[in-house]
Subunit: 231 residues, 2 copies
């Protein structure tokens, strides 16, 4: 089967994202250093995020609201001085953070775009993802952009049908086993996992063992050759 | 020219939205009654929202963050007691608020869907808009759903090309002159304005005078007959 379409995740596949969340979380730990141990704070924040996920979805605005909620809980509803204002500022800085593409991304995408239809497939805040794509300078390489609230097998099947010749003629590439790889394989696509050095706990999942349409790559520079090898 | 596609705005066209924002804003006025006069508070909130619009976009999460920021400013960074927790709770309630379709919507859409491709065209939080559409029970009537960060003429042209036979064979219906009507007319589509009883200041704009493809309707029940009259 000849590959016609390559789907690419955005955050932590094309550009840094989780590190920016981690930096903000470090700053949050500093802000609450007198109130809670880092481990206690991390656990509480993770619980608040998980509780809010169904309402807030993915992205910076929901994360900022969860940071504020966690600060309120840990300070007994009485956060000192500028704590809340500082969290709001940290959230705005995340949204305005410059986009830094990962090494090899520009060349790999330029190469792939000459042979395949590239589709950006990502979760998160709609406006923020559009802004990051524009700031990345990669926008013109993509034939389509799909920003989703959740990634599952039926979503991938629909997208690869719409922007190509179905999942069996498509390859998906991303850093999240849970969102990018497993559901794309389930839909019938090929999938290449390229790990990022940190992964949000929510996105962690087991790699498939010996799956004929799956590969683990060390870097996106290896992606074009692998896709070509699929025929 | 025969109409093939009908675009419909969602918030305040198919279901109540602005009233829910207004109710939350009333609650916000009560929370800050000891701190600021309603007029002062409204002006400050409007300024904060406007300042944040480019970063936050449209939707409840950005609105909640702007409420918190306004409360911080008006209390000199020291909000009393449960004020912030109450604002967070108000934001979550907006996200979880039941969807109430406006009178005549179900029947008008059922009627239109037998003759035309219906496309939902809306701004706001991606996840929240999907949740509202699911809760409305109207999802099956739509051939496509387009959730956007901004509505302009090129967006309408692209959507009516993708889901039909171009803007000249499409009609758009919505409550916002600024987002639903003027850019759809500019793209070459027909447009029906159905006012909602309150409009966010940001969405207010002049009606076009004597435009051959524009109509003002009192209720969505009048929409199917008007679209049929276009031929």
């Amino acid at each position: 089967m000849r590959i016609t379409t390559v789907g690419l995740d955005a955050d932590d596949t094309l550009w840094h994202n989780e590190t920016i969340f981690r930096l903000t979380q470090d700053r949050f730990r500093d802000l609450l250093a007198d109130v809670a141990e880092p481990a206690v704070l991390d656990a509480r924040l993770a619980a608040v995020e998980q509780r809010n996920l169904a309402l807030y979805g993915y992205g910076v605005k929901g994360f900022t609201l969860s940071l504020i909620e966690t600060a309120m809980e840990l300070t007994g509803g009485d956060p000192p001085g500028r704590m809340i204002a500082d969290i709001l500022a940290a959230g705005r800085e995340m949204l305005a953070h410059p986009v830094e593409t990962l090494p090899g991304v520009d060349q790999a995408l330029a190469d792939l775009s000459t042979r395949y239809r590239l589709v950006l497939i990502t979760k998160g805040d709609l406006l923020h993802q559009e802004q990051k794509l524009a700031a990345s300078g990669l926008g013109d390489l993509f034939a389509a952009v799909e920003i989703l609230s959740e990634k599952d097998a039926s979503t991938y099947a629909r997208i690869f049908e719409r922007h190509g010749t179905g999942a069996s003629a498509a390859a998906m590439c991303g850093n999240s086993m849970r969102s990018d790889i497993l559901p794309a394989l389930e839909a019938g696509a090929y999938a290449a996992h390229i790990p990022y050095h940190v992964t949000w706990a929510h996105e962690v999942a087991e790699a498939p063992s010996d799956h004929p349409r799956f590969i683990e790559l060390a870097a996106i520079a290896q992606l074009p050759a692998w896709v070509r090898s699929l025929g």
